[in-house]
């Protein structure tokens, strides 16, 4: 699993943009990291993780797993040890001290922020489902003319193309900043903050167009 903010962080460690990162290292339409044929993570090398300074939350948490219930209450669990894992993990200390040692705190914060956006998206989808406020099919996406076959310049891989343009932080921030006449933040944390804000504004707009639930 890898969220847009994590893809941004890893891409910066590798010195590439998120568009290229998604094309090279993501699977399942940009939602997971690629694995090698033997199941190893694409970033695992004999000398360790290639993106360790910006490794995703799920890697930072291991061997803990984290779940959040519908009230937002967090629970942590311990995964059974992987026999091939070389990490040294003790049973002393608390979950809190472990999370602190792994630099998890900002990642949990971002995960919660994206979680809030996710809940808003689900709310909007439920509202649409109930009220059927979708316009006519051809309003902004005209169907191709009969007999015309649309051929993309580059054949996209169905599994590599992101499900949503929001997953590509660099591309979505470039678009947002071009519309707003502002500069794309160079620093990772600033870019994540702007990505969250841009998504909030997108959802604000959709919510205002739909009106109260």
């Amino acid at each position: 699993m890898a969220g847009p903010h994590e893809i941004l962080g890893m891409s910066r460690v590798l010195g590439i943009g998120t568009t290229k990162f998604l094309a090279l290292y993501a699977d399942n339409q940009g939602t997971t990291l690629r694995s090698e044929a033997d199941g190893r993570c694409v970033f695992l090398t004999p000398s360790g993780c290639r993106v360790h300074p910006r490794r995703p939350l799920v890697c930072r948490l291991y061997p803990l797993g984290r779940t959040t219930d519908e009230r937002g209450e967090e629970r942590f669990a311990v995964f059974p040890a992987q026999p091939e894992c070389e990490a040294v993990v003790g049973r002393d200390g608390t979950v809190g001290s472990f999370l602190e040692s792994q630099g998890v705190v900002p990642y949990l914060g971002w995960s919660r922020r994206y979680g809030e956006l996710y809940r808003r998206m689900i709310g909007l989808l439920e509202q649409l489902d109930i009220q059927g406020k979708i316009d006519a099919p051809a309003a902004d996406a005209p169907a191709p003319e009969a007999g015309v076959t649309e051929t993309p310049a580059v054949e996209p891989s169905a599994d590599r193309s992101p499900l949503s343009s929001w997953q590509d932080v660099d591309a979505s921030l470039a678009e947002y900043c071009s519309v707003h006449g502002s500069a794309v933040p160079a620093e990772i944390d600033g870019a994540i903050a702007l990505h969250l804000r841009a998504m909030e504004e997108w959802l604000d707009d959709l919510e205002s167009r739909l009106g109260p639930a």
Binding site: M1, A2, G3, P4, N28, Q29, G30, T31, T32, V58, L64, G65, T67, T68, D69, E70, E74, R75, F76, A77, V78, F79, P80, T94, V95, G96, S97, L99, S111, Y114, G115, L117, Y118, M121, I122, L124, L125, L128, K133, I134, D135, P137, A139, D140, A141, P162, L163, S164, S165, W166, Q167, L206, S208, R209, L210, G211
Partner: protein
């Protein structure tokens, strides 16, 4: 009237982007929807996972005179470990005088 209808319209493209983004986040973050959230994930591994709480890592008893803090003391580490690891653990507060119970303030669930 027509204007109001327009305001409340979202396009097919909006809906596709919304559904695609929600689906992407669902997988990217492991978010689940509605009452399944958490339960499904935990249920699959219930026999293998040891549930832990991460709400607190230190417990203190403090006593005051009015609003003035007089003293505070941390729970002994042995007690702390038990309280942290046991989801059903409770703390009971009782006042005694010369070994005789004066008042029982009741039990507080440590992990709720």
């Amino acid at each position: 009237m027509g204007k109001q209808e327009d305001r409340k319209t979202v396009t097919r493209r909006d809906v596709l982007k919304l559904a695609g983004t929600a689906a992407a986040f669902c997988t990217s973050f492991g978010f689940l929807h509605g009452s399944q959230t958490g339960g499904v994930v935990q249920g699959k591994h219930i026999g293998e996972w040891k549930q832990l709480q991460a709400r607190w890592q230190q417990a203190e008893i403090k006593w005051y005179s009015g609003d003035v803090l007089l003293n505070s003391s941390e729970f002994p580490s042995k007690v702390l470990k038990h309280l942290q690891s046991d989801e059903m653990a409770t703390v009971e507060i009782k006042w005694f005088r010369s070994g005789k119970l004066q008042q029982n303030l009741g039990k507080i669930a440590a992990n709720r």
